[in-house]
Amino acid sequence: MTMLKTEPSFPNPDAAYEMLVEGHRGVSEAESAALNARLVLILSNHIGDLAVLKEAITLAKKAG
């Protein structure tokens, strides 16, 4: 079974974070929420594994 990866994947984590932040620069709060929703869908499909997605949702809920 595939497991959710929680160990670092990006050699340069700062660059990945910066990219996400930049995506949200200069847009309204509503646009930002909509962008996040589209991103979640795109990335979920890229993962393509319900078990991994479920683990990710659980982790996200737990951390909040």
Binding site: A33, A34, A37, R38, V40, L41, I42, N45
Partner: protein
């Protein structure tokens, strides 16, 4: 709800049973002359079993009820003798379009392949279907249809059911070995038995209008999210015969149903949608949808089918279509039990198979309703994200859910014998077999499903002599009785010479093998009749 005008009118007639001193005993009484009850009665009669249908009304009324009848329902109706009439009157369609605002985001084609007798869907007002079924029932002397016979009490006994029935001439009692409760979402029989029907109600209200107009829209199902004419909500437009169009407008949870039904509210909404076209309102009502099911459909000698057993929201056309399939699943089993060819326990498979179907239908219609009417602001954001992505990314099109339209249920059933070999093709264990265009011995075109009988059937692909099939099975040899000129049978069944396919009386595939094996067939037949140890 508005008063329904009557489309077909029938008369009450006194039955001799009403004059009997003690209750007369009958083999089968069906409560409710809707699509489900009529299907059951006709199928039973075609299997030689008499039934009485009781209905509290004396007419078939108009009104916005079922309009979409699926390929599977039409195949069943064809076996009952009204399929071609339905298709002729109905509006055939298979393409659906989904719009976000003014832009199309998604298109689906429900039957992309040829070589099937029945189309993916027809649209037809439910009253036509009921009218045709009533006429078909009238041709069958084994059916006794009693209008204005209202069941008021149900008494369960060990091996029969006693019904109290009210008529314009007073009350009478009737005993029946089997009582089929096909009396709809507000089932009286279910109430009499005190059974729980736990509902999940959706808050959202919808306006449903049937509108008469001549319009040049194509014969497709059009669904809008956030259309310019009905901002922030959803809308559906779908054609029916006689220039009638079904329009479905989402109103939000706070809409007042009494106010929203008034012409001064309805007409401006429709004008925004239809523009300058002339139209007349045939029917309008405001609904909230429920999903519900009985835990068990079989309660001793009382058996529930259709909306009395389960209820769904309308997105997906899973109400009437699933009820018709309930009836077909039940009837061949009940006929075997009544004829003492199968144990009563066979009926548990009805409960199981149609229970699976009900869960599937409720799941689909719940997910569709959640997509169409998101419950929270964030759900709406996520829903809109799917719609925004759909034109750009194929994966998102698959998530667009304006109703997953009814297809035949695949039964994970103890009546099936597991495969020992691998088969390609669209035929699957537990599913009804796919249709295919064939030719008979005289060179006439014949669809497979037309050629099938009403009992267990073995489809054998010629490879030498005709096999000697066990009693109770009808044999059809492909390559001798029917010819597969186009090769579509072989392709759809993943067949090779010598392959054998065992079909149940409802044409669901229950066993298959690459080489005919009399013992395996005998065991598979016993298993499908509920006789397996």
């Amino acid at each position: 709800m508005a008063e329904r005008k009557s489309v077909y009118q029938f008369g009450y007639r006194r039955s001799a049973d009403q004059d009997s001193k003690s209750p007369v005993r009958r083999p089968v009484v069906i409560v409710g002359a809707g699509p489900v009850g009529l299907t059951a009665a006709i199928d039973l009669a075609q299997r030689g079993i008499a039934s009485i249908i009781l209905d509290d009304a004396d007419r078939i009324g108009e009104g916005s009820r079922a309009i979409c009848f699926s390929k599977r329902s039409l195949e069943i109706m064809d076996r009952l003798g009204v399929g071609e009439r339905l298709v002729e009157k109905g509006v055939t369609w298979k393409v659906g379009k989904v719009f976000l605002g003014e832009h199309q985001v998604y298109l689906f084609d429900l039957l992309p392949e040829a070589g099937h007798k029945m189309p993916a869907f027809i649209n037809l007002q439910q009253y036509y279907l009921e009218g045709y079924l009533v006429e078909r029932a009238a041709e069958l002397p084994l059916i006794d249809l009693r209008w204005r016979n209202r069941v008021s009490a149900v008494e369960r006994h060990e091996d029969f059911v006693r019904l109290t029935i009210e008529t314009p001439e007073g009350e009478y009692k009737l005993d029946t070995d089997w009582c089929l409760a096909c009396d709809g979402a507000r089932s009286k029989v279910r109430d009499c038995l005190g059974l729980k029907f736990e509902r999940h109600t959706f808050e959202e209200r919808f306006l449903i209008a049937d509108v008469k107009m001549s319009a040049d829209y194509p014969t497709e199902r059009w669904f809008w999210f956030d259309p310019p004419f009905h901002s922030g909500q959803s809308a559906l437009l779908h054609r029916q015969p006689d220039n009638v169009w079904r329009i479905d407008l989402q109103l939000g949870p706070d809409a007042n149903p009494e106010e929203e039904k008034k012409p001064e509210r309805v007409l401006p909404r429709l004008k925004r949608m239809l523009g300058e076209r002339q139209f007349e309102l045939e029917w309008v009502s405001v609904y909230r949808f429920n999903c519900a099911r009985l835990k068990k459909f079989v309660h001793g000698r009382v058996i529930f089918a259709g909306d009395s057993a389960h209820q769904v929201s309308p997105f997906g056309a899973r109400g009437a279509n699933s009820g018709i399939q309930d009836a077909e699943n039940l009837v061949w089993k009940l006929a075997l039990v009544i004829n003492a060819e199968a144990p009563e326990s066979l009926l548990e498979s009805y409960d199981l198979e149609r229970g699976q179907a009900a869960d599937e239908n409720i799941g689909h219609s719940t997910r569709s309703t959640d997509f169409i009417a998101p419950r929270t602001k964030q759900e709406r954001v996520l829903r809109n994200a799917v719609l925004q992505l759909a034109p750009h990314a194929p994966f998102a099109r698959g998530m667009v859910n304006s109703g997953r339209l009814s297809v035949a249920s695949e039964y994970d059933s103890p009546l099936s014998t597991g495969d020992e070999e691998v088969f390609a093709g669209s035929a699957k264990l537990g599913l009804p077999v796919p249709d295919a265009p064939l030719e008979d011995r005289e060179g006439r075109h014949r669809f497979l499903l037309q050629a099938l009988g009403a009992d267990f059937e073995l489809l054998y692909v010629k490879n030498g002599a005709r096999p000697n099939v066990p009693e109770g099975i009808r044999l059809t040899v492909i390559g001798e009785d029917l010819f597969d000129r186009e090769g579509l049978f072989m392709q759809r069944f993943g067949a090779t010479p010598g392959s054998a396919f065992l079909l149940r009386p409802d044409h669901h595939l229950c066993a298959r093998m690459r080489r005919y094996d009399g013992n395996r067939i005998r065991n598979a037949l016993a298993r499908a009749k509920g006789l397996a140890k």
